[in-house]
Amino acid sequence: MIAVALPSPGVLLAGAVTAAAVSLWLLLPRGRDSRPARWLGGLLGAAALAGFVLTGRRLGGLGEEAVFLIVSLVAVISGAATIVSRSPVYSAIWFALALAGVSGVLLVLGAQFLGVATIVVYAGAILVMFLFVLMLAQPAGLAPYDRVSNEPLLSAIAGATLLGLLTLSIGRLSADPSCCQMPSKAAAMAAGTAGTSVDAAHAGDAIDAAIATDPLAADQVARLGGELFGRHLLAVEAAGVLLLVALVGSIAVVSRHGDPSGELAPARRAAS
């Protein structure tokens, strides 16, 4: 019903990309602020968001799930707010909210472990460290060039273009019926129990796929762990060693600059 009144997806997407670019350009922090420009930017941003959502609908890549729509909107809006906020502390808070949105998207898609790990690692540890540092450096003490965005025009255009291309390609992919068809659990179960005519291994694969997409499958974490420490063992170990080397290296760099009477005295005292 909506489809009759709307222009074609291509025109819609072009409009959304343009609106997003202009709105980002208006919203990004620059030296002087004008309130009408920010209002206009906000309105254009909302229009661009609606344009992207409608394009996704038209291309068939966006389902009807209300929860998915809500969490992804939270992620996108707070992501934009992260870069347009004037205060670094607010930027960090918006970033935390964006992470919560991403985690919600992952949970809706059935990746429980990734969803919760996003919160634990990013929001719980890394961002708290960010806030720690930001709060120590009072916003008033920041240099002006730290509080404006460099090249607002170019970055707005680049970001909006990237967003448009991604929407287009993902929308095309998911509109193609031969790709990314997730079998529903009921269908998989039916295939698994259909009887002797169905190839048993194929039915097993279908059930595996159904478990992988079911948000509440019983052994999500066990399967992920088996995958990580089975097929990708070498990569996991290499990443672990890399992190350890980085940790040792950073400590070495810090302690080499440490002068006995310098700032590092408390740390050395605690270590002795």
Partner: protein
């Protein structure tokens, strides 16, 4: 018409959420009373014993006190100072309370109910809001790290030196103690083979060996880290009254202060739940509750009662510790986390991993019973060795000797420089 009615699982989940939140809020109110009684008992006073039934002379041992406390703090003026960042100042208490309540979605508050055919519940109904969540322990971890934001933002938004210092201290403390907390928890997850808290309880019930006995070192590490994460004395540096007035909630009053205080209490209740569920066997008690599926209401209620009694016991322990230990200094706090608890946690993890890895060989070599005994004895040996080693290698600063930052010559040198 029936399409508009919520489905049975939804209704069951809503009932569980209602029971849990109502129960937790009431429990928090009465635990404040218990804490005041405990304080009075330790300090040889009478404590709150006057408020009973309103408008009568019935005192009832002071059981009306929580109601009076709540009314008083709710009716107080909700004052917002002029110099605060209004948005974050308001958001901080909401964030911390919402996070500490949402934690309980993954925490079981009993075993399970027997089938109730009259209501259409064919199977056993687990006493857990989100039974399908496969990452229960991580969920608890994630939301307790979100609660840090409440403290940090409350401290920063207050635009007050004491509040700010409290926020900084607490963020450093909570981030540091998350590591020993995680290590203590990993040992249990490794032994039980699951991140689900009800599976962890079932694993302890089926073997009859609580993880506190099988992993004493992990238990100690987790207990200490849980105290620090709940910011209870001796780890209450974020709001040390003698140094920081009220810490991160110095500028708060009225209902917002109440939200902070309730969230703090809920952190302690969460810690007690986790300690009992992961290390003290959950609802299991030898010879009383059995360990199989729940068939009768008697068993279901008995298990609920055992779990609640254990949790109350741990909470009383928390309160007793509060009045028995002086507060740590900040460097002692950090030394304890990084130089004592972190290595001990790693030792525990390696021990548990080795035992779990070689258990089949052990059973094959010495038989079932002897292997079970060995699997308990070896961690205890490691516990004593680790404890003594930590005691002998204690980094300076975890004891109470004053820090000598400068030798006499250094001071002279600095004086000359100045």
């Amino acid at each position: 018409m029936t399409d508009y009615l919520p489905s049975l699982p939804t209704i069951v989940a809503l009932v569980k959420i209602g029971l849990l939140i109502g129960g937790l809020m009431t429990a928090a109110a009465y635990l404040v009373l218990v804490e005041r009684w405990m304080a009075a008992w330790v300090q040889d006073r009478k404590g709150p014993n006057r408020v009973g039934i309103p408008l009568t002379k019935v005192r009832l041992f002071g059981l009306g006190q929580p109601l009076a406390d709540g009314l008083k703090i709710i009716l107080k003026e909700d004052f917002t100072p002029k110099h605060v960042d209004k948005v974050l100042y308001t958001a901080a208490p909401l964030v911390i309370l919402a996070a500490s309540l949402a934690i309980f979605a993954a925490i079981p508050f009993g075993s399970s109910l027997p089938p109730i055919p009259a209501l259409g519940l064919a199977g056993e109904e687990p006493l857990l809001v989100a039974p399908g969540l496969d990452v229960g322990v991580l969920w608890v971890f994630a939301l307790s790290s979100i609660a840090v934001y409440g403290v940090l933002l409350g401290g920063w938004a207050s635009n007050n030196k004491y509040g700010f210092l409290g926020g900084l201290r607490s963020s450093a403390q909570l981030v540091a103690y998350e590591i020993p907390l995680g290590l203590g928890l990993l040992g249990v997850v490794l032994a039980a083979g699951s991140l689900k808290l009800d599976t962890i309880m079932n694993a302890q019930a089926s073997t009859g060996v609580w993880y506190a006995f099988a992993q004493p070192l992990g238990f100690i590490v987790f207990l200490v880290a849980a105290f620090a994460e709940a910011a209870r004395l001796p780890f209450d540096l974020p709001e040390a009254e003698q140094e920081l007035v009220g810490g991160y909630h110095t500028e708060y009053s009225g209902i917002k202060l109440l939200l902070f205080l309730v969230a703090e209490f809920l952190h302690m209740v969460t810690a007690a739940f986790l300690i009992v569920i992961m290390f003290l066997g959950g609802w299991h008690l030898w010879g009383v509750t059995g360990s199989g599926p729940v068939e009768t209401w008697t068993v279901a209620l008995l298990r609920f009662a055992v779990l609640s009694a254990k949790i109350l016991g741990v909470i009383l322990f928390f309160m007793l510790v509060r009045w028995s230990w002086p507060r740590f200094r900040f460097d002692q706090l950090m030394n304890l986390a990084w130089k004592v608890m972190l290595p001990l946690g790693l030792v525990n993890l390696v021990t548990v991993a080795a035992i779990e890895e070689f258990r089949p060989q052990l059973v094959a070599a010495v038989g079932e019973g002897a292997a079970k005994t060995a699997a308990i004895a070896i961690p205890w040996v490691v516990f004593f060795v680790g404890w003594i080693a930590a005691g002998m290698l204690t980094p300076s600063g975890t004891d109470n000797t004053p820090i000598r930052t400068h030798g006499p010559l250094d001071i002279e040198h600095e004086l000359v420089e100045v």
